[in-house]
Symmetry: C2
C-alpha cells in the first residue's frame, strides 16, 4: 500500500511529518509518497538525520503550501499547485492508495469533494473524528465539514459512521444516536425532528434514538450524529475540557513534595488513563464519503501522532469500507 | 427578601428541596414561600424531622405537580395549578421577590415568558448556566431555552450575560465571545456571520470576537454566546466529560492499596479541584430576560445544591440586574 502524504500540512510540517512517515514506513509496512517541494523536503530530512529513510520515499513535487489561513476553496483556485492539491489529484489519478494531510481541514474537505469526488449517491463528505468514552470510543459525525445540514445528510452521516465503526473499529451492530437536547422523539429543532423521523425509517442501521451531550462520554452510542456546526463546537469543547482537567490534575500532582510522591505512586495508571483520553491516540479522522481514502491528521500532530494517523489510514484503506459505503448508500436509495 | 420555591420540582422533591430551603433560611437570611400541596409538604417535613423549620416557611397551596415528562406549555395549560405555575403567578403578583424551581426547564422557560413576562424589548429569555474554566467561571448563553435563534437574539444574550457577569459575578468589563467553528469573522453558518456583524456594531459590551470550543475551558471569554441547541449540547457534554473524567480518576485512585495511599496524600487538593469543576457549586442558573428573578435549580440537586442555588437567587435579586438589563436593552434600541 502506498500512502500519499501532504509534506507541508499542519503546525509542525515538514519536520514532524517526515519523522512520522519514516516511522510508519518502518513499523507499518506502508510505502510513502510525499507531496511537497523536493529541495525543502530533502533539506529537512538531512537536518533531522533521516536522509536515508527519506531516500526510500517517493517525492511528488509541489511548489506551493496551503496554509491554515487560506480559504477552503483555494485548494482548487490559487493554491492548486500546493502539496495538498497535488497530493489529492495524485490520489484521484491512482498514483497512491490513500491521502493524508495535517493541513487546513476546510480545504481538505473541499479538495476531497472536488478533486477525489464523492461516492455516487453521497450528498456530502463528513469529517468524522473518534473520541474516547467510558470503556471505548465513539465517532462524532459531522465534526465540522458541513456547518449547514439537511436531515437526509444527517442520516447518511449515520449510515457511513455505522459502516466505519463496524468495519474499521470492529464494533458489532454499532448504535447510532442523534445528538439532541432531549431523548424524546419530539425534541429539538426542525432539523432534528425531521432527521429523527428519517432515521426511524432507515433500514440497515441500529438507530437508538436521540442522545444527549451528557451521555456521550458514558457510552451513549457508538456513532453520534450531528450537524457540522454543533459537531465542531462539541469536538473542540471535548478536547478542551479533557485537556484543561488533565492540566489541573497535573497541577495538583506536581505541587509540593507530598503530592509529587503520590503522583509517582499512581504514575503508570494515570498514564494509561491519559493515553485513553488522548485524542492523538488515533491521530486523525477520515473524510468519509470520498471515493478514495482521504484522512485528516491532527493539525498539531508530532511524529508519533502522524504515525498513528497513518496506521488509521492504512486500516481504513484495507477495510474496504468505501465499497461498503457505496453499497449502503445505494441500497438506501433504491 | 422572600424567595418562592417550587416544592415539587426536580428529581429529589420534596425532601431535598425542603432541606435546602431550611438551610437557606438559616444561613442566607432569606424568607421562603413554598409552593405545593400543604399536606404532602408537612408530611415530608415531619418525616425529615424539620417540622419546626417548615413552620417558619409560608406555604402556597398548589394541587398539581408538573413532571419532567410534561410538555413545556403544560405550565399554562393542563398543569396551570402545579406548584411551578402557582409559584410563577405568585411572583408575577408580587407575593415574593424571586422564584426558583428544580423542575422541568422547558416549562420554566415558558412560564417565565408567559406568566412573569419578558423585560420590555427582550426578544427571548435565556437559560444561562455558569461553567468552570481555568481560574474562574464563564457563562454559557443560551443553554437550551431557544433551539432556534435569530442573530439579534444572540446579541441580546451577550448583552444580558455581560450585565450578569459584571453585576452578579463581579467581573469587570466581561469579554463576550461568539461560539464559532473558527476565530475569523467569516467563519460559521449564516446565523453566526450575521450575529458577528451585529456584535461588532453593538456598543456597551466588550465583544472579543469568535471563540472556539477548545478555548472555553481555558479562559476563552467570560460570556460564551450561542443558540440554545448548540448550547444545550455543549452544556451537557461539558458536564459529562468532566464527570466521566473525574470518575475515571477516582477509579485510578481507588484501585489497589498503593493507589489508595496516594489518593489519601492528595485528598484535600483533589477535593478542591473537584469542587471547582463541580457545576453544583452554583447550584443553578438564571432565566435571564424575565421581568422578575426566575432561577432554575439543577434537576438532580440535593439539599446543599438547593441552598447554593438559593444563594445565587438571592444575589441575583439583590444585584438589581433586571433594571440594568432593561436599561441596556432599551439603549440598544434607541
Amino acid at each position: 500500500m502506498k500512502i500519499i502524504v501532504d509534506g507541508f500540512g499542519g503546525d509542525n510540517a515538514p519536520g514532524e511529518i517526515l519523522l512520522g512517515c519514516a516511522q510508519a514506513m518502518e513499523e507499518l509496512g506502508v510505502g510513502i509518497l510525499l507531496a511537497g517541494d523536493k529541495d525543502r523536503l530533502e533539506a529537512a530530512g538531512k537536518e533531522l538525520g533521516i536522509g536515508d529513510k527519506l531516500a526510500k520515499m517517493e517525492i511528488l513535487p509541489a511548489g506551493q503550501v496551503l496554509s491554515m489561513e487560506d480559504e477552503p476553496t483555494s485548494v482548487i483556485k490559487d493554491k492548486a499547485d500546493s502539496s495538498m492539491a497535488v497530493g489529492l489529484r495524485a490520489l484521484a489519478e491512482g498514483k497512491g492508495d490513500a491521502f493524508a494531510s495535517a493541513g487546513n481541514s476546510g480545504a481538505l474537505v473541499v479538495g476531497a469533494t472536488t478533486l477525489v469526488k464523492r461516492i455516487h449517491g453521497v450528498k456530502r463528505v463528513t469529517f468524522a473524528p473518534i473520541l474516547p468514552k467510558a470503556g471505548g470510543f465513539f465517532m462524532l459525525t459531522d465534526g465540522g465539514a458541513n456547518v449547514d445540514c439537511r436531515p437526509e445528510m444527517l442520516v447518511q452521516f449515520g449510515l457511513m459512521g455505522s459502516v466505519y465503526m463496524e468495519k474499521v473499529m470492529g464494533i458489532r451492530n454499532p448504535r447510532v444516536g442523534l445528538c439532541n437536547v432531549g431523548n424524546e422523539a419530539h425534541k429539538g429543532d426542525d432539523l432534528r425532528k425531521q432527521a429523527h423521523a428519517l432515521f426511524q425509517e432507515c433500514k440497515g442501521i441500529n438507530f437508538t434514538g436521540n442522545v444527549e451531550g451528557r451521555e456521550l462520554p458514558y457510552d451513549g452510542c457508538d456513532v453520534a450524529v450531528t450537524d457540522g456546526f454543533t459537531g465542531n463546537m462539541m469536538l473542540k469543547l471535548y478536547e478542551g475540557v479533557a485537556l484543561a482537567l488533565m492540566d489541573q490534575i497535573k497541577g495538583v500532582l506536581t505541587s509540593g513534595l507530598k503530592n509529587k510522591l503520590a503522583a509517582a505512586m499512581v504514575y503508570s495508571d494515570m498514564k494509561k488513563l491519559k493515553k485513553h483520553m488522548d485524542y492523538n491516540e488515533y491521530g486523525g479522522a477520515p473524510i468519509m464519503g470520498a471515493k478514495k481514502p482521504v484522512l485528516k491528521i491532527h493539525g498539531s500532530a508530532k511524529a508519533a501522532t502522524v504515525k498513528n494517523a497513518l496506521r488509521l489510514t492504512r486500516d481504513y484503506t484495507r477495510s474496504g469500507i468505501i465499497a461498503d459505503i457505496a453499497e449502503a448508500v445505494g441500497k438506501k436509495q433504491e
